[in-house]
Amino acid sequence: MFNFVLKRLAIAVPTILILIVLSFMLMFAAPGGPFNSERPLPPQVLANLEARYGLDQPYWKQMYDYVVNMVTRFDFGPSFQYRDRTVTDVIMQGFPVTLTYGFWSFVVAVIVGVSLGVVAAIKHNTWLDYLAVGISVGAQVLPNFVMAPILVLVFTLWLGWLPGGGWQGGQWQYLILPVIALSTSYMASIARITRSSMLEVLNAGFIRTARAKGLPTWRIILGHALKPAMLPVLSYLGPAFVLMITGSVVIDVYFSTGGIGQFFVNSAFSRDYAVIMGITILVGVLTIVFNLLVDVLYAWIDPKIRY
């Protein structure tokens, strides 16, 4: 187990470094500096500004300082766009919002997706199964940027039940539409994976034995079938979490929730490389850490798995 975690870490750390180097290389390749404007600055001012942001250092030194500051002080450097704030400020402001509805979307996607998949598998080839499969196929072609406008159209414009945007400190009315829009397609994938793995497990010998012993169906499902059927789902959850964070960009922009995605897109428009890079690296690190956790969890639950 320990060796396994160590081996995974040996891949994770270089991956993070490659991500950082890649982002830096892209940034260095960018035409023009962040302080190039319509009216050229006096050379002395420009030099002072570059010294303030460390841009007069050689590339490797900039990169090294960046990594050291990030690791030791969680400092991603100053933002180019908001002159009085650091990238860390921006991240700290947006991230709690993204995490809040990201967490709820995750919970909804897992609970609804797994239930849908299990029901479809138990009622294999009945109308319930077809309904569940239909829902999951339908949800697959409705990515979050399609779901969001449709939801707003129905629930805000036509029915007038829920607000079509804003955050207001995360009151539940403001949470519902973003959570539905974000979770639908993941819910569909989870339902599909659960269904097929559940079908496989239900045909296994130990389930037949349990049935032969006369156990009630619900105890067979909950006590025997669910745990092994969950394994493929678990391995999907790592990537799903990542996709949810990525997908949240659309949710943030469309619902103006003030999450991390909104800052990301704003920065993309105003060419604030510092913020873009900070968020890219943060999401990358989260992705890698989360995948690592899922892998370790996986190996712990199913000792047969060894990579």
Partner: protein, 308 residues
């Protein structure tokens, strides 16, 4: 197949009497595909949408960039879909013909999908086949690289690239091409691992064919079935990726458009009662995705014997 074998006169006669029709692998697959109604419907829809994307412009009475000044300012009242004034799908918020723009958007979305899938097929298949065929340390290093690239949040890196190098369709193609081949290389590698121990590969090695020739002439053609299936399922993923970025306003640039950009524009305008601006692009987007998924599923059933 059996008709060619002459293993005894009586047997040949018997076979001739029954007139057994030989069936090739591909013919077999085609029959299985044709029996799948959803897949055939998807294929028909795809053909129609492709025709619409490339020849629909011939029916348009307005170009995609032309502003109908009569519509400007009262789009909500007068800009709805109408045959009479030539705006079959209505006009957008600036008074441009939505029909022409939907044709253009569908074309660009399809192009992005196909180019992304094509890059995935060419790069991914070769990469995976080479890694799988040579095995050992080459395989280890090559697949580690794929692992590492897969762990990077590409949507963010892609946006970073678009911001830094400027937003253009070419950049979008490059960016999407960079991501798309990763999955394909894994699939191709897995299949190559089982193929390379087959007798026909052994035979080619025995007669001294060079490794690259074996890969190109003997391994890759045998990967095609699987590769086609995944490529079909990859096209909608690419379309979604492009639309996602265009929805954020970071993809294709005006006056060019894509389905994602049109959906975004329509979604931004819908509270003014101009619902057609959302509905028409959305319709083409959803039908395209559905069609690709159905065709991909049908192809998988037809070509991948494991899943039947």
């Amino acid at each position: 197949m059996y008709r060619d074998k002459t293993t005894g006169a009586s047997l040949v006669d018997a076979v001739h009497l029954a007139e057994v029709q030989g069936r090739s692998l591909w013919k077999d697959a085609r029959q299985r595909f044709m029996r799948n109604k959803a897949a055939v419907a998807g294929l028909v829809a795809l053909i129609l949408i492709t025709l619409f994307a490339f020849f629909g412009g011939l029916l348009a009475r307005w170009s995609a960039e032309e502003i109908d000044w009569a519509m400007m300012g009262n789009v909500a009242q007068a800009g709805g879909p109408s045959i009479a004034n030539g705006h079959y799908f209505g006009v957008d918020e600036l008074g441009r013909d939505l029909y022409a723009r939907t044709v253009q958007g569908t074309r660009i979305s399809l192009l992005v999908g196909f180019v992304g899938a094509a890059i995935a097929v060419i790069v991914g298949t070769l990469y995976g086949a080479i890694a799988g065929y040579f095995g050992g340390r080459t395989d280890g290093i090559m697949m580690r690289i794929v692992d590492i690239l897969m762990a990077i949040p590409f949507m963010f890196v892609l946006i970073l690239m678009l911001v830094i190098f400027g937003r253009s369709i070419l950049m979008l193609f490059i960016g999407i091409g960079l991501i798309s081949w990763l999955d394909m290389s894994r699939i191709a590698r897995g299949q190559t691992l089982t193929l390379k121990n087959k007798e026909f590969v052994e035979a080619t090695i025995a007669i001294g064919v060079r490794p690259m020739t074996i890969i190109l002439r003997h391994i890759v053609p045998n990967l095609l079935g699987l590769v086609i299936v995944y490529a079909t399922l990859l096209v909608p993923t690419m379309i979604i990726t492009e639309s996602f970025i265009s929805f954020l306003g970071l993809g294709v640039q005006e006056p060019a458009t894509s389905l994602g950009a049109l959906i975004s524009a329509g979604a931004g305008q819908m509270q003014y009662g101009v619902i057609w601006q959302l509905v028409f692009p959305l319709f083409f987007f959803i039908v395209t995705l559905f069609a690709f998924f159905f065709v991909g599923d049908g192809l998988r059933d037809a070509l991948d014997p494991k899943d039947r």
